[in-house]
């Protein structure tokens, strides 16, 4: 393969809170290749969401660099930054808070098309319907208000919005954890098929190794703002080397190793 789609190196971020400095990220480096699913796992507070926010330029890093599609992302500002945005999209964790509560499904999907001029005024309604179909929703939902559809449907709309601009990378920050197990599986399948069709890469953030095991090609395990280990997903789940990796794997509920009541 040629150069990676995304190359992150030495990313650091500190927050100041109540006079104390909190190190959210401390020199994080990794790469994501084209058409790859790269997972970030780690316990709560290890800095996964911070990575996502920095990548999407929702916050500014204190140190380090982000190269995406060969561009230095951190050097972009204003118009230039917005011109790049279609290439890099995100799906948020909580489908309830990811949309303007006053919006309709149609408007949510229309916005990116309008902003980036991806379809003419007259073609846009049709384009919106196509998007809905792509994520397995009925075009009839266009007129519904966001709060009138279910959580699973909302997450599909979120994915539709993310793919509307034909991005090369989508960051999914715990995009599945608010969903029911059964819905979760459907969405996972949708993501996989999109990747196969369009070659999109995913940065898949989760604290659930079980899910990660099913979708990720490669995994980075994070702990306390740093990457503890990186590797092939299968390999890490089978034989984690870092203590945090071991703990995560041990905590994975599975049929193979039932925790009996007497175990502890």
């Amino acid at each position: 393969m040629s150069e990676p789609l995304l190359a992150v190196s030495g990313l650091s971020k500190h927050y100041r809170r109540a006079g104390r400095t909190i190190t959210a990220l401390d020199g994080v480096s990794f790469q994501v290749n084209r058409a790859e699913t790269f997972a970030l796992v780690g316990p709560s507070g290890s800095g996964k969401s911070t990575v996502a926010r920095l990548l999407l330029r929702l916050a500014d890093a204190d140190a380090g660099s982000i190269h995406f599609e060969g561009q230095d992302l951190m050097a972009l500002r204003g118009e230039k930054l917005r011109a790049m945005r279609p290439r890099l999209q995100m799906v948020f964790q909580d489908p309830r808070s990811a949309f303007n509560p006053r919006a309709t499904v149609g408007r949510v999907l229309d916005d990116p098309l309008r902003i980036h001029g991806l379809a003419g005024r007259d073609e846009r309604p049709r384009a919106v319907e196509t998007l809905l179909e792509r994520v397995g929703l009925s075009p009839a939902l266009t007129l519904r208000a966001i709060h009138e559809i279910s959580g699973g449907q909302r997450q599909r709309v979120a994915i539709a919005r993310a793919i509307a601009t034909k991005p090369s990378l989508i960051v999914l920050d715990e995009a599945l954890s608010a969903l029911d197990v059964s819905v979760r599986a459907d969405i996972l399948d949708l993501l996989v098929s999109l990747q196969l069709d369009e070659g999109i890469s995913y940065l898949f953030i989760s604290h659930d190794l079980g899910v990660v095991a099913r979708v990720a090609h490669r995994v980075a395990v994070m702990d306390a703002g740093a990457i503890a280990e990186t590797g092939e997903a299968r390999q890490i789940i089978a034989a984690p080397s870092s203590p945090i990796g071991k703990a995560l794997v041990a905590a994975m509920p599975s049929l193979a190793q039932p925790v009996s009541k007497e175990a502890e």
Binding site: P43, S182, A216, A233, A251, P253, V259, E262
Partner: protein, 258 residues
């Protein structure tokens, strides 16, 4: 085997905006003493409603029929004394302005006829039992000073303070990350065994439930779909819905990717 709790033809209707919302229909269920029953189901399937109905905590104005019987108890069950309850969100289930020690101690004081001093002593012991480091210090701490997992341990300590015979854990681990989740599940398992409590373990994660439960009950749309011994149910689910749940949780595993 003694039956601790026997639920017969339970139905619950909430009132919302003047309309009825059917949350549970025709539920029949027995719980045995000292055993763990897991309740599984998707969001809105009525799991919490069942738990609240057992503890008599349904909101005012809720219609309720059927029976909940406590054979062998001899009196109406008392919350805290006979039933311990652990909720999903550990941050929300503790009063933010009281020290956690007091919140555990007040349960002991209410049900065990102790003085405050004795109750605080017991509370500290309990905080130790749920494996909180330095229980004395934790007793003086406020909820916001503890992590999610620690708060859930405090909630568990409060729930078992009066040694109830039934512990209800309603999604007690789903707000926590996987590592902490595993610890809490293990803790609950251990406590239940030590005190020979019955456990009603509510979860939407069948894999997690399977680790603890002797029996699993599957709920959907307010109905009890099926109930069976854990191994039995996992091996040969009677319903396709149950099967889809099992598949979503356990297999087809990562090997399929590549």
């Amino acid at each position: 085997m003694t039956t601790r709790l026997s639920i017969g033809n339970l139905g619950v209707r909430y009132r919302r905006d003047g309309q009825g919302v059917e949350a549970l229909k025709h539920v029949d269920l027995d719980m045995e003493a000292g055993k763990c029953l897991a309740v599984i189901g998707e969001s809105g399937s009525g799991k919490s409603t069942l738990a609240l109905a057992i503890a008599g905590l349904l909101p005012a104005g809720t219609k309720f029929d059927g029976s909940i019987a406590w054979p062998g108890l001899g009196h109406a069950p008392l919350n805290g004394r006979d039933i311990g309850f652990v909720f999903q969100d550990p941050s929300a289930s503790l009063n933010p302005v009281l020290p956690v020690g007091e919140q555990v101690a007040e349960v002991a004081r209410t049900h065990l006829a102790l003085t405050w001093r004795e109750a605080f002593g017991l509370a500290t012991d309990l905080l130790g039992r749920v494996r909180l480091p330095d229980p004395e210090a934790v007793a003086r701490a406020y909820p916001h000073q503890l992590s999610g997992g620690q708060k859930q341990r405090v909630a568990i300590a409060a729930a078992i303070a009066a040694r109830p015979s039934l512990l209800i854990a309603d999604e007690a681990t789903s707000a926590l990350d996987t590592i902490v989740q595993a610890e809490i599940v293990a803790l609950i398992g251990r406590l239940v065994t030590e005190d020979s409590m019955s456990l009603l373990f509510i979860s939407h994660d069948i894999a997690l439930a399977a680790q603890l439960a002797d029996r699993i009950a599957v709920f959907r749309h307010g109905r009890l779909l099926e109930i069976g011994e854990t191994g039995e149910l996992l091996r040969s689910p009677a319903h396709s819905y149950t099967r889809s749940l099992i598949e979503a949780s356990f297999g087809p595993a990562a090997e399929e990717r590549g």
